[in-house]
């Protein structure tokens, strides 16, 4: 049974999607439970896989028994083992947390919504677990299409935002496909590790160079790296809250994972990093992404829009950290994939809780929230401290590695951008704290008893609060266990030649 874990991870949700869709017609209440069971099995399988990887270093699974390069092989090593667990956990926790929210917003369309949700998870987990380049494209498109549909279910300008996302996302995925095509021409194989063994002989070829460039461009578009980030703010702002707290933590981080996988495992560091000019330029691009994302976030007037610009800056952290091309920087990038996914989930869940009780998320609607929703705002404070980078939350430790990587590479512009972004985040989040804490202004001396304070208490229901608290606590736990993560998992994910 346990040798089929790689298959379970994507096949179970895939089949479940069909059951959910039919249940949507027959008996709506079953939809949630089918989805929950499917995602729980996925989560369990990913844990099992990670444990297997910790023992055996690599787990290879041949679909249908066909061995590569003719068959599709799924390959789990340290890098994707941990990303799998994180993705599965986020998808599962988010499903539980947003149950009430989905029932409120989509009551007749619960079936399609959960079917799309589960298909999105299939696609995303598949991207992480696969070892075949073309299979990655297919799963990438599964994840993207379901993402487009989920976002399009939102309010206001959701359809238009989603259509723009469709255009840009399709260009990105198509560029990736094109790159894989060129690699196929050059090597005759589609299996990532097979390609990696053939490529060193032909590193000088222009075909390989073009494949490298076009693949990267496609990935940069999909991960919203500046200047290809314009689709993200609109798409994230107008999307329905249960969908965005799934999409935001996963999409861009998984794309960063794909970039790392392609550059470290397929093209190998000797090709990817040999040109210093490319490394430094990409770090500078990341610096611009961080600075622009942070500055644009300052001018936003609504919570979700501000958070989406913060996400754009976070992408800059990961891309810049990776292209520093030293051990500390790449460790920071991988660690930040994990940490940023958790932090993003935390803050977007809070946004969802707020929208459950309050009509809108523009800053005017956030007045007095600390009094009204103390638990949600408490979790928001933890998430904000993590994004700012305050120990012992996890965000501090990924910044630690990123900054030490920047110092080691002598790239002080990157270090300055990281510090600048932390300071801007302090301003961004304390602005919200101020609105929630101070306003509306009034004479507070009249009451001194606790009853007054209870009358305004109106936090989200328990079913939404408990997963949120788990995620917030997880941010601190992840921080404290950074050493375990790095020494037991991440350091083996980085090839030995990098110092």
């Amino acid at each position: 049974m346990s040798q089929h874990f790689p298959a379970f991870i994507i096949v179970i949700p895939l089949i479940a999607a069909f059951f959910i869709f039919t249940a949507g017609w027959l008996k709506r209440t079953y939809c949630f439970y089918i989805a929950a069971v499917a995602l729980a099995i996925s989560l369990f399988s990913s844990f099992g896989l990670l444990l297997q990887v910790l023992q055996n270093k690599v787990v290879v699974y041949h679909f249908g028994g066909w061995s590569p390069p003719w068959g599709i092989a799924y390959r789990v090593d340290y890098l994707n083992g941990i990303v799998l667990v994180v993705s599965a956990a986020i998808a599962f926790l988010n499903l539980i947390a947003t149950k009430k929210s989905v029932e409120k917003e989509f009551i007749e369309r619960v079936g399609p919504f959960y079917a799309l949700y589960v298909l999105f998870v299939t696609g995303t987990m598949g991207i992480v677990v696969t070892g075949d380049a073309f299979n990655l494209y297919v799963l990438l498109e599964i994840a993207s299409l379901t993402g487009y549909a989920l976002i399009g279910m939102g309010t206001e300008h959701a359809a238009l935002a989603s259509l723009n996302y469709v255009f840009m996302g399709t260009i990105g995925a198509s560029f990736y496909l094109l790159g894989i095509g060129y690699l196929y021409i050059a090597t005759g194989s589609l299996n990532m590790f097979d390609i990696a063994s053939i490529l060193p002989n032909i590193f000088q070829s222009n075909v390989v160079l073009f494949a490298f460039v076009i693949c990267l461009t496609g990935l940069f578009i999909k991960m919203a790296l500046f200047p290809m980030h314009t689709w993200l703010p609109n798409a994230y702002t107008y999307s329905p809250s249960p969908a965005i707290s799934l999409i935001a933590p996963l999409t861009t981080k998984v794309m960063v994972y794909v970039m790392i996988r392609i550059l470290l495992s397929v093209f190998t560091p000797s090709f990817s990093f040999k040109s210093m000019a490319v490394n430094t330029s990409f770090v500078w691009l990341a610096v611009i992404a961080i600075v622009v994302g942070s500055i644009l976030a300052l001018s936003q007037q609504s919570l979700k829009r501000m958070l989406s610009y913060v996400m754009i800056a976070e992408i800059g952290y990961m891309v810049g950290g990776f292209w520093l091309a030293n051990r500390a920087g790449i460790t920071g990038a991988i660690l930040h994939i994990i940490n940023d996914a958790a932090m993003t989930l935390c803050v977007f869940l809070v946004a969802g809780n707020i929208l459950y009780r309050v009509p809108g998320d523009s800053f005017d609607n956030l007045k007095g929230l600390f009094r009204k929703m103390p638990f949600s705002m408490g979790a928001f404070v933890v998430g904000a401290l993590s994004i700012i980078g305050v120990p012992p939350t996890c965000g501090f430790f990924s910044k630690w590695y990123l900054i030490t990587g920047g110092i080691a590479a002598g790239h002080y512009g990157f270090v300055a951008a990281l510090l600048f972004s932390s300071l801007v985040n302090v301003v961004l989040f304390f602005r919200i704290f101020e609105i929630g804490y101070f306003e509306p202004f009034g004479d507070l001396h009249i009451s001194g008893s606790m009853d007054e304070e209870e009358k305004t208490f109106d936090d989200a229901p328990l079913g939404m609060l408990v997963p949120l608290m788990i995620v917030a606590a997880g941010l601190i736990v992840l921080g404290i266990y950074t050493d375990t993560l790095v020494t037991k998992v991440i350091q083996f994910a980085i090839p030995g030649g990098i110092s």
Binding site: F134, Y137, V138, E141, L145, Y148, A149, G152, H157, A159, L160, S162, L163, V166, F167, T170, I171, S174, L177, L178, G181, Y184, I185, L190
Partner: protein, 131 residues
């Protein structure tokens, strides 16, 4: 000069897909009508499908379908005689993806039309700015 022409003509499939891709990109970026953009996107994806299929081509080779003769298909297959089937197979998948993308995009376009009563980007933008 002759060499350059030779290079261009011999690699006509590459030029073909690049031209198609550029047309698609042009439509997606420059055109204001949403349906035209969607058409552009479709052309763009088709260009890439065209590229893949074209690279499987071989001289003096035929379509990769084994016909089962009277002997029940026992004779050996000479791979040399058939063009590479793998890109075709991959592109079946890619075509399905392309169709699905088209479907999603058109569904969104319908929703946009219901919301804004127009499919022209500038008209929609002016409606959004007014709100």
């Amino acid at each position: 000069m002759v060499d350059l022409l030779t290079i261009i003509i011999s690699k006509y499939n590459y030029w073909g897909y690049i031209v198609l891709m550029m047309i698609g990109l042009y439509a997606m970026i420059v055109k204001k009508n949403l349906v035209k953009k969607i058409i552009g996107m479709s052309i763009f994806q088709t260009a890439i499908i065209f590229f893949y299929v074209s690279i499987g081509m071989k001289k003096n080779a035929t379509i990769p379908i084994i016909s089962h003769g009277h002997d029940g298909g026992e004779h050996a297959v000479h791979a040399v005689d058939f063009i590479n089937p793998l890109p075709h197979v991959l592109m079946l998948t890619a075509i399905v993806v392309s169709v699905a993308t088209l479907g999603v995009a058109l569904a969104l376009a319908i929703k946009i039309y219901q919301q804004y009563n127009s499919l022209e980007e500038d008209e929609i933008d002016s409606q959004i700015k007014v709100k």
